[in-house]
């Protein structure tokens, strides 16, 4: 470990904490419809949208209507994106001369971008026209993130209101999330990225002559505009196949730092928004603390594991120590301009936050480093988590933690004054069960069937890890690939496509039903006898419940994958 690396990670955590409050306070104003600086610009746009779409912004919805609106919107989005992908031959701005996508792949991609997963079984610079990238994928990056934020806000409302059935208006929440939060932030970030060298054009691909005398086609495109929302919306769908490892997407250590930060800004800010909305800031800080503890722990594990290097290389006398002359550590699959710490930081943020953008290849990570990346995902994408969906997942865990341990204070469990009763437990368990079942199911089937095994690049536990990662990434709506696994085949297009759908919507629907049930309950006023859901003790409990539930579910899989590989590597066996 190096001081520079630690300083970079420390600065990252510090800046993240600094922006949480202003970000969260701003979003609280936005979703409560209060005045903000952007009103003069956005209000007219907003009302124009409502007028065009026939939305009555004053009419609030019950959870059923709210969820149905979200589902219908998503279904229409899948269909539209599918059509765009299938009709690429007639697109304007098709510098890649990309043909229409195959039906399986188009389905997979459409589902992937609508579910905020952004799993990419295609290579952007070869298979997508500029029109697809802008009108299809970038548009989805905005609205899928906006959808997540809307859901989180609606759930929060369910906790602060009482004895009513309405949880807000989906169209209003979605529109405000996009117009007030995602658009302006993306615009700023895109400009900063351009200043650092990220490209933004509609040019034809450039052919360059290499030093060796060969020729190389250099892809172009409107990168910065997609790159910004890719991070801010925890989408992760890269313009290029190499994603954030590509110099046009992520050219400098500064952009690397900012992009990793952009992943977490909104999810972290939403915890503060949550506290503001429920009327007790400490409630939000407790959730943030739990996220931060898991984040820092994961980061520390990945960083130290990568910096320690490959034991097999160590045994044959390769010097992997950090020094003035070299970064040291396990550099395979990592960009030299980011180094170990920049890569570990990015990896932790992207896996914990369900983003899926990558600046290094997890397939090349040490088994433990890669294992932590999987763990971050299978814990439920709640280490900050996706925009909105992370808070949603964290609240489900908070409800379960309160239910499991809450009885120990001698009262029936309640969260924020809302009694947790059979209906909530049933739905919360259902959500967790479906998510875990999805990951375990897809990886179990893929690890014993011919079609599943066909995609492996490596044998043994490493090959298994590739399969496990793909299943987790799809169902967890992360979208990053471990790499190695060739998922560009009908079997994986279909199974992973379904896993993305199930992982998103079979989780969201029961969780929104919990919201529908909670909003109708009275809020029992807090007293000294109330189970405290603030402070370090609760944050610790929350972390404990997440780790124990996650570990109990995935310990066997992680043992036979990354852990076994790690132990075997020390005996000199590689895969």
């Amino acid at each position: 470990m190096t001081w520079m690396g630690i300083a970079q990670m420390g600065a990252f955590a510090g800046v993240l904490l600094l922006v949480t409050k202003p970000m969260g306070a701003y979003m609280a104003r936005v979703f409560q419809g209060e005045r903000t600086l952007l009103d003069p610009v956005m209000r007219p746009v907003e009302s124009a949208i409502y007028r065009t779409c026939g939305v009555d912004p004053k009419r609030e919805m019950q959870w059923t209507t709210y969820t149905a609106a979200m589902l219908i919107f998503s279904a229409v989005c899948v269909l539209l994106l599918y059509l765009i992908l299938r009709l690429q031959s007639i697109h304007p701005w098709n510098a890649a001369h990309a043909p229409p996508m195959e039906p399986h792949l188009a389905f997979n991609t459409a589902v992937s971008f609508v579910t905020n997963t952004n799993w990419q079984a295609y290579a952007g610079e070869r298979s997508a026209s500029y029109f697809t990238q802008m009108a299809g994928l970038t548009w989805q990056s905005f609205v899928s993130a906006g959808t997540g934020m809307a859901l989180a806000i609606a759930f929060t409302r369910a906790l602060c209101r009482q004895s009513v059935a309405e949880i807000g208006n989906f169209w209003v929440d979605l529109t405000r999330a996009c117009l007030w939060v995602l658009l302006p932030l993306s615009a700023v970030l895109a400009l900063v990225l351009v200043s650092q060298g990220v490209i933004q054009n509609l040019s034809q691909y450039v052919t360059a002559s290499t030093l060796e005398g060969g020729s190389q086609v250099i892809a172009q495109g409107p990168v910065a505009s997609q790159e910004a929302i890719k991070m801010l919306g925890t989408n992760g769908g890269g313009f290029f196949n190499a994603n954030s490892a590509h110099p046009y997407e992520n050219p400098t250590p500064l952009t690397n730092f900012l992009e990793a930060l952009a992943i977490l800004v909104i999810p972290a800010g939403l915890t503060y928004t949550f506290g503001r909305l429920v009327g007790n800031q400490k409630q939000g800080w407790a959730l943030l603390t739990a996220m931060m503890v898991l984040f820092v722990t994961g980061l520390g594990c990945i960083y130290s594991s990568e910096q320690n290097g490959n034991p097999v290389l160590g045994r044959i006398g390769v010097n992997q120590a950090a020094s003035l002359a070299q970064s040291g550590g396990h550099m395979e699959g990592k960009e030299v301009r980011f180094g170990i710490s920049g890569s570990a930081l990015f990896a932790t943020a992207t896996t914990g936050a369900s983003c899926g953008a990558v600046n290094s290849s997890f397939d090349s990570y040490t088994p433990l480093g890669g294992g932590i990346a999987i763990l971050n995902i299978v814990l439920g994408e709640i280490i900050f988590g996706g925009v909105g969906s992370g808070l949603l997942g964290m609240l489900v865990f908070a409800i379960l933690a309160v239910f499991i341990a809450g009885l120990m204070v001698g009262r029936t469990p309640e969260y924020l004054g809302k009694k947790i009763e059979p209906r909530e437990v049933k739905l919360a368990m259902l959500a967790i069960l479906l998510l875990a079942g999805c990951i375990l199911g897809v990886s179990a089937v893929s690890s014993v069937t011919r079609l599943g095994l066909a995609g492996r690049f490596n044998m043994g536990p490493h090959g298994f890890t590739e399969i496990l990662y793909a299943a987790a990434s799809a169902a967890g709506n992360n979208g990053s690939a471990f790499a190695g696994l060739n998922a560009n085949a009908p079997y994986y297009h279909t199974t992973l496509g379904l896993a993305m759908l199930f992982g998103r919507f079979l989780f969201i629907v029961p969780v929104m039903a919990v919201a529908g049930s909670l909003v109708m309950k009275k809020r029992v006023p807090a007293s000294s006898g109330t189970f405290p859901t603030t402070g370090g003790l609760f944050a610790g409990l929350l972390v404990g419940v997440i780790l124990i539930l996650g570990a109990l579910t995935f310990f066997p899989a992680l043992t036979l994958g990354p852990l076994l590989e790690h132990l075997l590597i020390h005996t000199g066996k590689l895969f």
């Binding site: 009885l407 120990m408 204070v409 001698g410 003790l537 579910t553």
Partner: protein
Amino acid sequence: MVHNPVMFVVEAGCAVASYYAVVEAAGGGPRAGFLAALSAWLWFTVLFANFAEAMAEGRGKAQADTLRKMKSETLASVMVGGSLRQVAASQLRRGDIVIVSAGEVIPGDGEVIEGIAAVDESAITGESAPVIRESGGDRSAVTGGTRVLSDRITVQIRADPGQSFLDRMISLVEGASRQKTPNEIALDILLAGLTIIFILVVISLECFAVYAGAPVPIPVLIALLVCLIPTTIGGLLSAIGIAGMDRLVQHNVLAMSGRAVEAAGDVNTLLLDKTGTITLGNRQAAEFLPVNGFSERDVADAAQLASLSDETPEGRSIVVLAKGFGFRDRHLGPDAVFTEFTAQTRMSGVDTGGHAIRKGSADAVISWVRQQGGSLPDQLRPTVESVSTRGGTPLVVARDRTVVGVIHLKDVVKGGIRERFDQLRAMGITTIMITGDNPLTAATIAREAGVDDFLAEATPEDKMQLIRQEQSQGKLVAMTGDGTNDAPALAQADVGLAMNTGTMAAKEAGNMVDLDSNPTKLIEIVEIGKQLLMTRGALTTFSIANDVAKYFAIIPAMFASAFPVLDKLNIMHLHSPESAVLSAVIFNALIIVALIPLALRGVRYRPLGAASLLRRNLLAYGVGGIVAPFVGLKLIDLALAATGLVK
């Protein structure tokens, strides 16, 4: 056993494991011994879980038997169309009218509609002193199975066969009529959900193992499954509920449902009647305060005369206090006309020797004096107020048109009650004192007793209003009551504790009955409710936390031969794979037995705030739940290895 999904899965697993054991034994396989032991211990898990429930139920059985004896072969004299007929008590229906004479057993629950009698209720309450039951008023309810000692009463039966108090008590202590409470149902769902997750984990594990080229034998998979699913809490859950009810019965409290006990743990606000709960039963006359130039002795004289006909405890205490001034054995002339104390007039007195003497509540007597055309001395108001501000009740004494003085009636706050309220406050429970006193008096006693709030000059409607108001804020309210006019409030409250001495209406409206008729017991009931919930939470947490160690035992054991490197995970250094699996299963079974006493006794309750309770219990049952099985497993493994029972 389908009502308990966790134990159902264990039973199904046992059956499958046994099948493999039999096949292996029949074929003379090398693992026959191991598989037999494994199946046996899996069956023990089922046995122990059933044992826990049986034990909890067994405790109530003995109690139920004595109660049942009381019921049998009582004959009742029923009025049918003006004539009496002998009918078996079990045949009585609601509305029947029976005559019970001295020495007879009251055949069923009902209300005295005529007569007065001394009744021995020791069979129900354990209290040996007989109680008076009479028609009208708040002492009219009688319970089936109790014995009339004197006189003869006419009773209207209020319960149909099988619905009586005794019947309910029997079914309750036996756990027969036990329904799952909402919280138990929610816990069941959580446990069922975890069970399904672990079934998925085990099935997918087998797929992963096949991938790795090291398939796991089915019985070992079953062992892992049984160890992972929350058998501890699954096996003990109903025992905890039964034991909670049993603790209430031991406190002589009868709850109509388990839901009421849970609600007691959740209570935010306690409404406590001042008299009998916060203060010692009755007020006592403490001093005589003369006005208008009269002497203390004059006041004592007039007060005693006015109180001779006042049979209330307060009236009697005035007579007693006046005896200290030498007024004893008074004989009034035959012309004496007594005015008895009633709730409406709120004064008592006597007209004798041409004088009219009255004593009673200040405003009642003052308006009486005014009616007589008398005037009030300036001194009176300050004297009355000084008594009130000191927490006393002022009674005014007047002779004809003149006010003679003021009697200071004093409330005596029960010893130790202040500390109880402090504890309740720490637990986040607000106490509200209900009293008919004026606000000034109420405030003083409230301060002295340390209650959080009070409701003065309370009428039953005020009480009802207060309950509604608290409930509209989402709070749960508990109260006690005994009178018929308490019934609506008792029904409205989340926990309504009716006194056994109260009217039938009150008992039917409440969801708990205190056989000792001790209103202070409400506090204990809250504690029992909390203890019940805490025990459930503690064992759930413990059960889930246990799984961590079991993974570290079984996973390395499963793959020991295929991947010897995984022995690094065998951090307990268990003797062998077989020993590891067996130890985990044995621990899993034994921990149920080990925790039965805790489930029945309940987690120790401390009156602390939620934060410190959580810290303590999380440390004991959460962290303890992670650590304990590491130790336990290792010890069992050592024992197995030492006795050579495993390879």
